[in-house]
């Protein structure tokens, strides 16, 4: 343990595998997410990107291999315990509390992080510091003016921002963004890009995305996943130039 190798990466998987019967959604994935990373995970449909997120967050149990967060083995930890250690995610399809207002959506996350969510006596609105923090997050993301409206009624793009705000309410060290711009008209995805660019530098970000403009604007490292395996990893320039990537991924579109 000397020099730079002494610092554990924010997130690391070693030979992570998972199969459903004959279908291997993840096979032998070795992956490192450095501290403060801006890392993108791309790949064609069915490559196993969302499965990878589910394995890392604990929504799916690993078949074999290990997962380390901040150097500690979290392979067998429950989902909630991983969240407590600083691992948060957003969902490809909005997973919000639709009938609750945006402010309460974020308040629920902050209350869980602060450990007051099991409290039975004091009304939720009187935990002032928690509500203020949630409101400040909505301000940062530019959606505070609709804080008190049920999120189910907000425009889809705004719901995507609430989706990110809920995850930020957990003050994560590692944030997994599962297709943050999914479902947004391409003209409006700039708002999402701006928000992601302004996220605190110390959060290690893993972005799973189909939108190549977004990936190449945000990512400093790109990993290409194909059929549950890592095909190649490298800086954006190298990935764009890689003939194998063109063939399996970018090439599919170009060929049509």
């Amino acid at each position: 343990m000397t020099g730079a190798t002494a610092v554990a990466p924010a997130l690391e998987t070693c030979a992570l595998s998972k199969s459903f019967g004959a279908l291997a959604v993840a096979s032998e994935i070795d992956f490192r997410l450095e501290r403060g990373a801006r890392h993108a995970l791309i790949g064609p449909n069915g490559a196993g990107k969302t499965s990878f997120v589910n394995l890392v967050t604990g929504a799916l149990r690993a078949g074999s291999g290990s997962i380390h967060l901040d150097g500690a083995d979290i392979t067998t930890l429950a989902q909630a315990a991983r969240v407590k250690r600083g691992l948060a995610r957003t969902f490809q399809i909005n997973a919000l509390f639709r009938r609750l207002c945006a402010l309460e959506n974020v308040t629920l996350a902050v209350a869980e992080r602060e450990g007051v969510a099991h409290g039975l006596l004091r009304p939720a609105g009187r935990h002032r510091a928690i509500v203020e923090e949630a409101y400040a997050l909505l301000e940062t993301l530019g959606i505070a003016n609709q804080a008190l409206l049920p999120v189910g009624g907000l425009a889809y793009g705004r719901q995507r921002l609430v989706e990110i705000a809920v995850a930020l309410g957990l003050r994560p060290k590692v944030l997994l963004l599962d297709e943050p711009a999914a479902g947004i008209p391409s003209g409006e995805s700039g708002v999402i890009v701006d928000v992601i660019e302004r996220l605190p530098a110390e959060i290690a970000l893993l972005i799973i995305e189909h939108d190549m403009d977004l990936v190449f604007r945000l990512a400093r490292t790109i990993t290409v996943l194909v059929q549950g395996r890592v095909l190649v990893e490298g800086p954006p320039g190298a990935i764009a130039a890689d003939p194998r990537v063109r063939e399996v991924y970018l090439g599919q579109r170009a060929g049509r």
């Binding site: 967050t57 929504a59 989902q79 909630a80 315990a81 991983r82 969240v83 407590k84 948060a88 995610r89 969902f91 997973a95 919000l96 509390f97 639709r98 009938r99 609750l100 207002c101 402010l103 309460e104 308040t107 629920l108 996350a109 209350a111 869980e112 992080r113 007051v116 969510a117 099991h118 409290g119 039975l120 006596l121 004091r122 009304p123 939720a124 609105g125 009187r126 935990h127 002032r128 509500v131 203020e132 409101y135 301000e139 505070a144 003016n145 804080a147 008190l148 809920v166 309410g169 957990l170």
Partner: protein, 327 residues
């Protein structure tokens, strides 16, 4: 300038958010109505006591069904357990009502905790079936244990002592009415505190989106077990009230019909709104009382018609209807 506008908006929004949990004048209405009933309808106090005790039962069902999203068709298991605990104590030489009430709550809560540990692992239809199984098992157990429960004939010979040794249960049902009202009030205070607490809000979160609740690190299973246990205790208190004020416990207190009726009353009033029970129960029970007098044979038809009317024209129950008109 802009900064101060922002901070004014922030304070206003956060205040408005906190105000949602504050006590509203309209919330005194059920209690004013209950007091008015006592003075204006002295001939109907026994019916009034039944209504008050049943509101507590339906309120407890709302906590699990409306707030936590736990679909149950077996809530009578806890009502019946409470009724039998209070009844068996009073029939065997311990007729002190308050300790009987507390014992009923504790045993019912324990039954809720133990059955919840097993059945809350499932959701949806599987859960629904298991709640039915728990209630049916207790029903048959009470049926078989005739030496203790009186079986099919019901529990006879309850001797309920005066409350605090002072207030004897009278023939007109005055003491029983005030007793039921006081216990319901305490149960309501507890339920209201729970649904407005961070714990209660997190239950709503789990109902709205369980996957996201897991993803923000909430121990969803444990929270559901806690509310299931609390709700079972409140349902047990309701059963004890009816046992002590009528001096009788029958097998129907554990029956599917009682679980089902609680759901019907909750749906008529409005699910997940805390006050659904306070509207649904009186409407259902007063209608039942009136219809059975007018139409002794076919009164259930009119109740059915009322139910169809609510489902078709008043989604969200009568409270949902009122909310729509106020907008």
């Amino acid at each position: 300038m802009i900064a101060s506008e922002d901070s004014a908006a922030r304070t206003a929004a956060i205040d408005a958010f906190a105000r949602r949990h504050r006590f509203r004048p309209l919330e005194t209405l059920p209690w004013l109505a209950a007091v008015a009933w006592y003075f204006l309808l002295p001939g109907y106090l026994p019916l009034g006591s039944q209504i008050l005790a049943t509101i507590l039962f339906v309120l407890s069902a709302d906590l699990v069904l409306g707030y936590a999203g736990i679909v149950t068709l077996g809530h009578a298991a806890f009502f019946g357990t409470g009724a039998y605990v209070a009844g068996i104590l009073a029939a065997n030489g311990w007729g002190e009502p308050l300790s009987g009430l507390v014992a009923a709550m504790l045993v019912s809560a324990l039954v809720g905790l133990l059955s919840g540990l097993i059945i809350l692992r499932t959701t949806g239809l599987a859960l629904l079936m298991q709640t039915l199984v728990v209630a049916a098992t207790l029903y048959e157990a009470a049926n078989k244990a005739g030496w203790l429960t009186g079986g099919d004939d019901g529990l006879q010979g309850m001797q309920v002592w005066p409350i605090f040794g002072l207030f004897r249960f009278d023939l007109f049902g005055r003491v029983a009415y005030v007793y039921c009202l006081a216990v319901l009030f305490l149960g309501w205070l507890a339920a209201r505190a729970i649904v407005h607490s961070p714990f209660g809000r997190s239950l709503i979160g789990a109902r709205e989106n369980t996957a996201r609740m897991h993803a923000i690190g909430a121990p969803v299973a444990r929270r559901k077990l806690v509310i299931y246990t609390i709700s079972a205790g409140l349902a047990g208190a309701s059963g004890a009230l009816i046992a002590q004020t009528t001096s009788f416990v029958g097998l129907t207190s554990l029956s599917l019909e009682r679980s089902g009726n609680a759901l019907i009353m909750l749906i008529i009033g409005g699910v997940g709104r805390l006050y659904g029970a306070f509207i649904g129960v009186p409407v259902f029970m007063i209608a039942q009382d009136r219809f059975s007098e007018i139409e002794p044979v076919y009164w259930y038809f009119w109740l059915g018609l009322l139910m169809v009317g609510v489902v078709v024209f008043a989604r969200g129950g009568l409270l949902g209807l009122i909310e729509r008109f106020r907008r």
